[in-house]
């Protein structure tokens, strides 16, 4: 069987579909649990709706970036695997690297040599074996890390908020700075996104414009991208 047909065959779609449906089921269960717990922990329906809406709006842009990454992966490992890998565990960079390492172990350079059945299987196995470490460790350790964190704050609930807020700022500092130090167009995009955001925050916070708060991030991202194009 031709490798391209194999990569995009019905059995491959079914196998990958099975894995993707697990992620959907997990997301739905966690959503329902959280939605049911909301009122019990003192959240209003309105607060939950606003949170969900903002997350939904924020998801769209990055989803499209992931989609464009999927297209490059799709050429080398076929539709089902590219689709599954970017829904489950993966990120574009990891998957392309894993696929490349896998095929090269049987002498096929990804992207230049023609794909063979064995090379494709190598890519599949390497992507799987290389990624389950994250799931195994995080699944085993999530509740333990929570216990450690609880011990560290010793019942001081306000401290937990201080820690989490600081962690968010630290994480986005790390992510921003990796683009800033490149001193290329990515740096401009990062600065422009931050600049527009500060401007919009000043307006929406001071005048308390509810709808603008919801769209701040979208405007900042789009504005940042468009400004970067001008350079």
């Amino acid at each position: 069987m031709d490798v391209n047909r194999l990569m995009n065959s019905v059995p491959m779609w079914l196998a990958c579909g099975l894995a993707v449906s697990l992620i959907i089921v997990q997301a739905i269960i966690f959503f329902r649990q959280a939605y049911a717990a909301g009122p019990e922990v003192g959240l209003t329906r309105q607060q939950m709706r606003v949170g969900v809406r903002s997350a939904a709006i924020t998801s769209i842009g990055p989803s499209i970036v992931i989609l464009s990454g999927m297209l490059s992966l799709l050429v080398s490992v076929g539709g089902p695997m590219a689709w599954m890998r970017l829904s489950l565990i993966g990120s574009v960079m990891f998957e392309s690297m894993a696929a490349g390492i896998g095929t090269s172990a049987v002498g096929v350079t990804l992207g230049s040599d023609p794909m063979t059945g064995t090379a494709f299987a190598m890519a599949v196995w390497t992507m799987i074996l290389g990624s389950i470490g994250w799931v195994i460790f995080s699944t085993l350790s999530a509740n333990r890390m929570d216990q450690v964190q609880m011990k560290l704050v010793r019942g001081d609930a306000a401290m937990l908020t201080v820690i989490s807020t600081a962690a968010i700022i630290g994480a986005f500092s790390a992510l921003s700075s990796s683009h800033l130090i490149k001193l290329n167009k990515n740096s401009i995009a990062c600065l422009a996104g931050a600049g527009i955001m500060l401007l919009l925050m000043n307006i929406s916070e001071k005048k308390n414009i509810r709808w603008l708060k919801d769209w701040n991030l979208t405007f900042a991202i789009l504005g940042g991208m468009l400004i970067t194009l001008l350079f």
Binding site: G38, Q47, W134, D146
Partner: protein, 240 residues
């Protein structure tokens, strides 16, 4: 009034600890285990349907290759991201991937929009909602994309492709501004720290740490930020 409010707050925390978390842990562990098993399904189909099993030696070589490239991340990433993602978030983010570019922003933005504080029971519940929504939207977009196929999407003008490259840096900058807005000093200190760390990594100052370029910036920024905030919080508290 005060007597009514104090138990109400602790009732929320107690419900979260006693009712919500155990259920989350159960679902998280079951779906995590299933996720590890089901991720092998394409490999099993290749073997069972197409009779293709790659040579064991080559698989081992490739595994050593990928493990030496990302193996440290299996442990360091869940630890670095835990203070941001929380319990539910950790289960969800590592099974669905795309953490820094999607799960993290969505969880943080959902909390901010709902007006809840991170690190509280309310914050944890809202971030779980936000992350679940981002997982579903991510899969929906990818599914539409893969069905449309590369043929249609390849026809997008190159300028669209170029513009998309700038989305993530703009997103990260905007989010730093959004969350730094109320903590300007912290954000500026951390940004300076992050730039120095990244420059040092770029100069090879940490070449002796295997794969440091992949995780050191995130790990050190999260924990240094926590230490600084914890220190000034304690100072404020002592002063009061």
């Amino acid at each position: 009034m005060n007597e009514n409010q104090a138990p109400a707050a602790s009732a929320a925390e107690e419900y979260y600890e006693k009712n919500y978390l155990p259920r989350v842990n159960r679902v998280g562990k079951i779906t995590g285990a299933l996720g590890v098993l089901l991720s092998f399904s394409p490999a099993i189909v290749l073997l069972a349907v197409f009779k293709i099993l790659p040579p064991g030696g080559a698989v081992l070589t490739a595994f050593v290759g990928i493990a030496s490239a990302v193996g440290v991340l299996w442990f360091v990433e869940p630890i670095s991201y835990f203070p941001v993602l929380g319990v539910t978030g950790t289960y969800m983010a590592f099974l669905s991937g795309n953490i820094s570019n999607m799960r993290l922003p969505c969880a943080a933005v959902a909390q901010d929009a709902a007006g809840v504080k991170p690190g509280t029971a309310q914050g944890a519940v809202v971030s779980a909602l936000g992350m679940a929504v981002s997982v579903l939207i991510n899969i929906a977009v990818l599914t539409v994309g893969v069905l449309l196929g590369s043929a249609v999407l390849a026809k997008l003008p190159p300028v669209v492709q170029e513009t998309l490259n700038y989305l993530l840096p703009a997103l990260f900058g905007a989010l730093l501004a959004q969350f730094g807005f109320k903590n300007k000093r912290q954000a500026l200190i951390m940004l300076a720290f992050a730039i120095v760390i990244n420059l040092l990594i770029g100069r090879g100052a940490f070449a002796w740490l295997p794969g440091a370029a992949n995780y050191l910036a995130m790990l050190s920024c999260v924990f240094v930020s926590i230490l600084i905030a914890r220190f000034s919080y304690k100072k404020r508290k002592a002063a009061n």
